[in-house]
Symmetry: C2
Subunit: 505 residues, 2 copies
Amino acid sequence: MAMAAAAAASSQHLGLALITSLACLRGRAGAITSAASKLSYILSESAGYILREPICRPRSLSASATTQESVRGPSQAGPPSTDGGVIDTSPPRGTRDFPPEDMRLRTWLFNNFREVSSLFGFEEIDFPVLESEELYIRKAGEEITQQLYNFEDKGGRRVTLRPELTPSLARLVLQKGKSASLPLKWFAIGQCWRYERMTRGRRREHYQWNMDIIGIPGVEAEAELLSAIVAFFSKLGITSSDVGIKISNRKVLQEVLGRSVIPESSFAAVCVIVDKIEKIPRAEVEKELTALGLPVEAVDTILRALTLRSLDDLEELLGSDNEAVVELKQLFELARGYGFEDWLQFDASVVRGLAYYTGTVFEAFDRTGTLRAICGGGRYDKLLSTFGGVDTPACGFGFGDAVIVELLKEKKLLPELNHEVDDIVMPLEEELRPQAAIVAARLRTQGRRVDVVMGNKKMKWAFKHAERLQAKRMVILGSTEWTKGSVRVKDLSSREEKDLPLEEL
Amino acid sequence: MAMAAAAAASSQHLGLALITSLACLRGRAGAITSAASKLSYILSESAGYILREPICRPRSLSASATTQESVRGPSQAGPPSTDGGVIDTSPPRGTRDFPPEDMRLRTWLFNNFREVSSLFGFEEIDFPVLESEELYIRKAGEEITQQLYNFEDKGGRRVTLRPELTPSLARLVLQKGKSASLPLKWFAIGQCWRYERMTRGRRREHYQWNMDIIGIPGVEAEAELLSAIVAFFSKLGITSSDVGIKISNRKVLQEVLGRSVIPESSFAAVCVIVDKIEKIPRAEVEKELTALGLPVEAVDTILRALTLRSLDDLEELLGSDNEAVVELKQLFELARGYGFEDWLQFDASVVRGLAYYTGTVFEAFDRTGTLRAICGGGRYDKLLSTFGGVDTPACGFGFGDAVIVELLKEKKLLPELNHEVDDIVMPLEEELRPQAAIVAARLRTQGRRVDVVMGNKKMKWAFKHAERLQAKRMVILGSTEWTKGSVRVKDLSSREEKDLPLEEL
């Protein structure tokens, strides 16, 4: 046939192009595959995003590493076929596909994000995954702005796949301008990207749940956010003996810095450096702070302040009128009201790696200490003014899709999620297809999820299929029954079978 | 304070950077804004994606143009402020933000996609929005492969924002290899991108619902897909007098071409050209076909065949044994069974603009003729083999998020979607915040959606707020009631008020 030959020809065409241009890619594909199979949720050495979820370990959302391995198909199955070779079937380096089993988990997780957000009266929003690079130009040395997945589009514009959602949110708030009635309580679930050399099998994308409150200067806003995070954990079966939330306030560091002769413009940069205290050697942190122009004694004062772990000690250091002290105390009082005080602990070493935080900062951590931060956030009252708007109080958090899945797996709290089908409709003869269509249409009108057996399959296959899908009933069409206006219905749990008139289905 | 000054300094820093580097962007921003405000669903001159949804008009998912206009804030509000200027608050050219009102519509639409897919027993999947460019290298001259949003990443790889979902699906099927139990019934809802010069205000991204069946050679697969499309329309209140589905089969053209002396490798290219027959002058189509090497009489035969509108005439031309005739007749018979025959009409001019279709092709259209195709799809039995896999029968469709919203708007079928909140919790004094937290936490545990009034608002504001949110109840905390262990509850529809003990809330 003309068509077959045409397709074959174009296949070869494409095949040759791919052999030439994919040569290097394919060489690395093997490495990706084996790296991926090593990366289970347990065995992990990858670091994560420095953003609202600064130290998560982005990894596959798949429920099991085994699943990931078993789906590797033809690309591993030996040399490419002679007619042009199989393309690289992996998704681009550092990215994920979501086959049905992984997608079910993602949907379940996102639905939980949505349900909690809704309980707290938040409205969902979204932005383009591609943004202007300018939104992320900050000079404080954050990892996130150094790893932009950026490029120049064909119109010469500098654009980037968004590394985080907050700048887009700020942009939208500015755009709404005076038409927005404050406070805004918004949430978003979006994919974020970063580019870095894949030296340690890190992922280049993850999804992030954000909740933000715009327009409220007081810590009742932070309290609502923290309460939502705890409600989410609780909904999933995670308790305060599994997870804690470390909390501090950037005004602690601000006060300490204010006592030294430090250029005020260095504040954000200091925070970004100090945030690395648990990730890089102390000497390195000291070196970086000194390089900013900080005197040795200031560096020492900062690092000593970071060791504080009690509010009383903080009060002793800064005085009871200090804003950080006042805000933290209020927050703990509200936490008692909400009933999540046992999740919360003051920890001055929490600074967060994003330049724009100005007040409260917090991050949730796994109490066994094996995982990195589960989520993080804080107050960023100056972000809108850095974009040219007026100062607008704001706070929010980012909650990634990677570490939480690791945690759920460790705690054996991952749900068993199956593809759900109610009825399998099976015509015993090909001639009964139009009748099978009648039956399927009738059942679907009733809201039943129906899988019609296609492609001339045997009864044995259909039953195996029904079992795999955990279907509730098998509806079988035979010509004898059909002439009597009936179909055969088998209940797959009770194993009972009976003939039912079509109108009683 | 040190912090305030630091932030101000960094603000200015950023401001200056933005002034310099955003100068050209800002110049164009005005044009975007005014273009965007002109683009209502009614007034439209934009063309759309040539893909599975080849002639949709991607446009905002916003329910009303007014909404879009009213959200324009500072960027239109006059000259930038003196301290650095407001950034461009529009999303990148040709893309959309989803503020709450637009997001609700999107969520409603996507939920309908999901519910219908689930009724038909399909499983959801997803892929990275960024893919290897190689997946889309096809030589047939399709608009979709000429408008890739592609670039070279920092590792020297050619990547692109995906213009369609089908090649990713084929890649995943290949990856699954033998572990996949055919047939696969998969659906996806994903954002797709294309880059073209924005001469007519076209959008550069849209979302697309895809349903695909892999592994079934017979037209019972197409019948299931078409039945799902019709079920979706019906669910939304659209009838067969609003929308029809034109259907044909590429084997018609294949048979006609087979009778001429035409290089078989030109088949896909011929289809891509012929697809433009209603969009560009006939003379232009003839010229392009002749340029492919087709003799004048072949061009004439093709164009005459495309005028056929009845299956009887087709049978007369090709004979009753012709595969296209047999398959189309079977499909109409199944449509009768499913009960959607009145939606279906044979139309030989439907060819679709994607190179990879091999059999059935179809597209849904608005019967008033004012909108472009609502969705489209067909059979692509050779796509997997062009990727180096074995031939695997497959069919599917793409259904964009733009034209359907226009249609729903015209038919006045757009739902009224509100932000939903059950209770507003209002502390009358700031001192009662911890108590408000107790109340809110209690109500949320019961599954009620609670909005806590933050930021020292007046009672008047709270009632206005409750009205705007269409909340069911106002729960007011006063110190007198609280000392008695009660709160004041006002039912906002009946206007009844009473004091309730906390434990009865």
